[in-house]
């Protein structure tokens, strides 16, 4: 299996926050969703991958190469898309492209022009005049125009309307028709991932909660709703992030099949979305 991104035992310490022992793997041809609440360490992890900040220990490999020793080769093959616009606002799209393009050996002017056309972007438009969605589309166009094999997206859809977000997902689907490409999609808007993600990595407070196939998650996690009488000191271990109300409780479990047999008709079992999983896991840690 060709590993396109490999993180092993990554550690980064700040005064009030640390990334502790993070490990994950993404194979070529797949989409990984990177989820977690705000402040969980998603952006920090991406900055570490990009070598914007120094790690304390651990290993990050891209395409089998070390991300620092082979920084240049690695970045030739990666397309980054950010939440904020880090381009020079005063410049037009065309001028900005003229700055970026020469850095890449495999820049394809045709591909870029085609994307501009598909996204309905005017190359003579100043970047500061673009709406948030259009800026994001420009980022995407630039990221996809140098034959990048890995696309890393850091909260690209925050602040964008649902219609637009679906368009982006469609674009990503088209992209992975090529089985040599992978996408690493960091977001806290998990509805985007419910469809396209093949794998999901969930981090919270700098630590890995899980990194699994999305289907596997759907099969083992479930929402459980039941009467308050079902909760006792022994049964509490079955549930994660119990949310009580006057009429009953709602919780998450990662032992779906086991609990269905145990509680049968006494509880209702519902499919847990990634958002449910995130909510109850984070809530559970706060108790």
């Amino acid at each position: 299996m060709d590993k396109i991104l490999e993180i092993k035992n990554l550690k980064k310490d700040y005064k009030k926050f640390s990334i502790k022992n993070l490990s994950l793997t993404l194979d070529r041809g797949y989409v990984m969703g990177f989820i977690g609440p705000n402040g969980a360490g998603k952006s920090t992890t991406i900055k570490l991958i990009m070598n914007l900040i120094r790690k304390n220990s651990g290993e990050i490999k891209l395409f089998g190469l070390d991300n620092i020793k082979n920084e240049r080769e690695v970045k030739e093959r990666i397309g980054f898309v950010y939440d904020e616009n880090y381009y020079y606002e005063e410049l037009t799209i065309d001028k900005m492209k003229r700055i970026i393009a020469p850095f890449y050996k495999n820049w394809s002017e045709d591909t870029f022009t085609r994307y501009l056309k598909d996204f309905e972007l005017d190359k003579n438009q100043k970047i500061k005049k673009l709406s948030k969605g259009m800026k994001m589309k420009f980022s995407l166009a630039a990221a996809l125009s140098h034959k990048a094999e890995l696309i890393i997206m850091d909260e690209p859809t925050g602040g964008l309307d649902p219609v637009f977000r679906r368009e982006i997902i469609d674009i990503l689907y088209s992209l992975i028709q090529d089985e040599n490409k992978s996408i690493f999609f960091s977001t806290h808007i998990t509805t985007d991932l419910d469809k396209i993600a093949d794998y999901v990595t969930f981090i919270n407070k700098g630590e890995l909660v899980f990194s699994k196939e999305k289907d596997e998650i759907a099969e083992s996690y479930s929402l459980v709703k039941g009467g308050l009488e079902l909760l006792n000191s022994e049964s509490k271990n079955d549930f994660i992030g119990i949310k009580r109300n006057s009429f009953g409780f709602e919780a998450l479990t990662d032992k779906k099949q086991e609990l269905i047999k145990k509680y049968r008709d006494k509880a209702i079992f519902e499919k847990a979305s990634l958002e449910d999983i995130m909510f109850h896991t984070v809530k559970g840690e706060n108790l």
């Binding site: 900055k47 990009m50 070598n51 914007l52 900040i53 120094r54 920084e71 240049r72 080769e73 690695v74 970045k75 030739e76 990666i78 980054f80 950010y82 904020e84 616009n85 880090y86 381009y87 020079y88 606002e89 005063e90 410049l91 001028k95 003229r98 700055i99 970026i100 020469p102 850095f103 890449y104």
Partner: protein, 213 residues
């Protein structure tokens, strides 16, 4: 790396910036009417590269475009080398341009003056020495924080430059007498400056690498 230098020029010399620059210097020229044209032109050649570098630094800092730059296939050393080299190249290009303009004007009979090459060289040496101190501050601290340090530095530089050209401070004037013609002292000075400049870049690289962006 050349791409980075090109980038700095492209973003610094936007329409507005160039116009501002021209206005500033027309203004400056009017104030310095008592000083010879040659000296004013040398000041021009000295300050424009500074200006370009400062703008590129502030742009990089302003909307964190350094993150975009660092996503490009570029090593962190190249970011630093591009600034050091950029300054020297900008200075060389502007000096040449000025000489060319003066030459063309003289053909048409407009004799504004000439700039002696070796005075230009001395100015270049001077910029390189000052930059050797101010750049590491920027790479370690970031543009906004290093500004205070750099402002003080530039004020100091400004005073020195002005005294250098007004001939009031005998000490400096006599010191430069040694460097009046191409001789061993001049060559030595240039070589030492290049060495200091290079060492400064190495220091900058090491300071930059310890920084979290």
């Amino acid at each position: 790396m050349i791409n980075l230098i090109k980038k700095d020029i492209l973003i610094s010399l936007t329409k507005w910036n160039t116009i501002t620059l021209i206005f500033l210097f027309i203004f400056y020229f009017i104030i310095l009417d008592g000083i010879s044209v040659e000296k004013r032109l040398i000041l021009l050649a000295t300050i424009v590269p500074f200006f370009i570098m400062q703008i590129s630094f502030s742009y990089d800092d302003r909307n964190k475009s350094i993150r975009m730059i660092r996503s490009l296939p570029v090593r962190s050393e190249e970011v630093i080398y591009s600034k050091y080299l950029g300054l020297v190249i900008n200075f060389a290009v502007i000096s040449l341009l000025l000489q060319l303009i003066l030459f063309i004007l003289s053909i048409f009979g407009l004799n504004i003056g000439i700039i002696s090459w070796h005075k230009l060289l001395l100015s270049g040496v001077f910029i390189m020495l000052v930059t050797s101190i101010s750049f590491p501050a920027y790479f370690k601290l970031s543009y906004s924080k290093s500004r205070i340090f750099n402002i003080l530095l530039y004020v100091f530089v400004f005073i020195i430059l002005n005294s250098f050209f007004s001939g009031d401070m005998d000490m400096l004037y006599s010191a430069t007498k040694y460097l009046d013609k191409v001789n061993i002292y001049l060559i030595l000075l240039v070589l030492v400056t290049i060495l200091i400049y290079f060492i400064s870049s190495i220091i900058s690289i090491n300071l930059y690498k310890t920084r979290d962006l």
